[in-house]
Amino acid sequence: MDKVIIADNLTLAYSQSEAIINRASFSVNSGSFVFITGASGSGKSTLLKSLYGALKPNGGSLVVGGVELKKVSNSKLNFLRRHIGIVFQDYKLVREWTIEKNIMLPLIINGYEKNVITSQVDSLLQHVRLKHQAGKYPQELSGGEQQRVAMARALSHNPILILADEPTGNLDDYSSQLIWNLLEGANTQLKTTVIVVTHNIPKNMNVNYKHFHIEYGSIREVN
């Protein structure tokens, strides 16, 4: 089976003195569903940042979608990112754009045609139950709604890999369930590889998943 992610002795740090992730080795198969847990401040977000190339490995190697991220050119990194959908812990929606425009962003970047973009955004808005809010700006929405917008944006361009950082953190049950359904749907129907950082893995998961736990800078698989 193809591997989407191969980390070998991966070390991540913001400064020379202190490694957040220390010589971790793991891999993720294409089409799998992965949970990452760990105490707050253990380095979960840091690991995700490295996976989309925002933080370069300090040691070891990290290959995502066949691209070695330790020494990657800007254009190659952009190319890789166009095939990844990210849900950020702080949403990272563009303030001055409407919900609709925010969801469109990856489609525009990937150069989709206008009518494709329109129909795709329309169906996503329906999926995240925000059709009636399409023309609003992020600040006008509740946290749960913003999270759903971020989710729709991450799914919009049918990425090969979805990285979601605590996508249901302090969300109401309704929004949480919606997001789990969407992530499961992408994984089962589109064979998208899904990596989710979370504090609590839902009990009623319908897909098989792997579980990595981060502690003291090392990453181990939980069975």
Binding site: Y52, N74, N78, F79, R95, E96, L105, P106, N110
Partner: protein, 270 residues
């Protein structure tokens, strides 16, 4: 509402820059007009032994624009106390000839001196009255006026620089977030900055149009025209074509520099 707010800050900064620039242009035009007026009023009076033609004067110095003979009648009138007609005619012949010379532009004190020297070298010319004292005074006033304008220009430059710098930081903050997010979804640099450049150029055009409307209004404002008229200054407050081109040029260049700096300064945050 939202989109208006997006444009407002840069448009205001650009409009204030264009406004000060046009005020400078108007002031410069006023000085030019004033100088022309001074040049037409200023003249040198020459006393010659023999009668001279205008062409002869023009050959003496390129600065000379025209020469007109002053009638000796006024002089004679004052002497006229019971002189008979024949004697007056005789006197007229022996009296020196007076000429008034007009210059092409308002001369500097140095030019006045040089001209006087040149004229006196001519054998036919016996005396030159250049009104040097009055001229020097007026000229000094003009120089002072120009110095004030230069100081004003520098002040405007400093204020607008501060204005632009402040704008730059706001922009930097506002746009780096969006550029960052676009980058995280793999947008190449040109696409990340496209919005910025489009916004900058649109704002520059809006600012030019706003300034254009304001100055078209001002240039037809009767009160303002009256003020210049009383000052006896004839000038074009706003030239719809030349000045609009200047507005567009200045604001587009400024806004583009602004956007380029932001793009160059931009760094992906971790």
């Amino acid at each position: 509402m939202k989109s208006i707010k997006n444009h407002l800050s840069l448009v205001i900064a650009l409009v204030s820059i264009l406004f000060s620039l046009q005020v400078l242009v108007i002031t410069d035009r006023a000085i030019m007009s004033y100088k022309e007026q001074l040049a037409s009023q200023y003249s040198v009076v020459v006393v010659a032994k023999v009668s001279l033609k205008q062409e002869q004067f023009l050959k003496m110095d390129p600065l000379i624009k025209s020469a007109t003979a002053l009638s000796p009648d006024d002089v004679i009138k004052r002497l006229n106390s019971g002189m008979d007609k024949k004697n007056i005619e005789l006197l007229k012949l022996t009296l020196p000839k007076f000429y008034k010379l007009h210059l092409k532009h308002y001369p500097t004190p140095q030019e006045v001196q040089d001209l006087t020297k040149k004229l006196l070298k001519q054998k036919s010319i016996v005396k030159v009255e250049n009104f040097a004292h009055t001229h020097d005074l007026v000229y000094k006033l003009l120089v002072l006026f120009k110095t004030i304008i230069v100081i004003f220009t520098v002040a405007v430059f400093v204020v607008t620089s501060l204005l632009i710098f402040k704008e730059l930081r706001i922009w930097q903050f506002k746009h780096s977030e969006r550029m960052n997010i676009m980058g995280l979804f793999g947008a190449p640099m040109w696409l990340r900055s496209a919005v910025l450049f489009r916004l900058a150029i649109v704002d520059a055009i809006i600012a030019s149009i706003v300034s254009f409307v304001v100055f078209v209004y001002l240039s037809t404002n009767s009160w303002l025209l009256e003020q210049f008229k009383t000052l006896n200054i004839e000038l074009v407050i706003f030239n719809p074509i030349d000045d609009l081109v200047m507005f567009l040029g200045v604001s587009v260049i400024l806004a583009t520099i602004l956007a380029t700096m932001i793009v160059l300064w931009h760094k992906e945050e971790v």
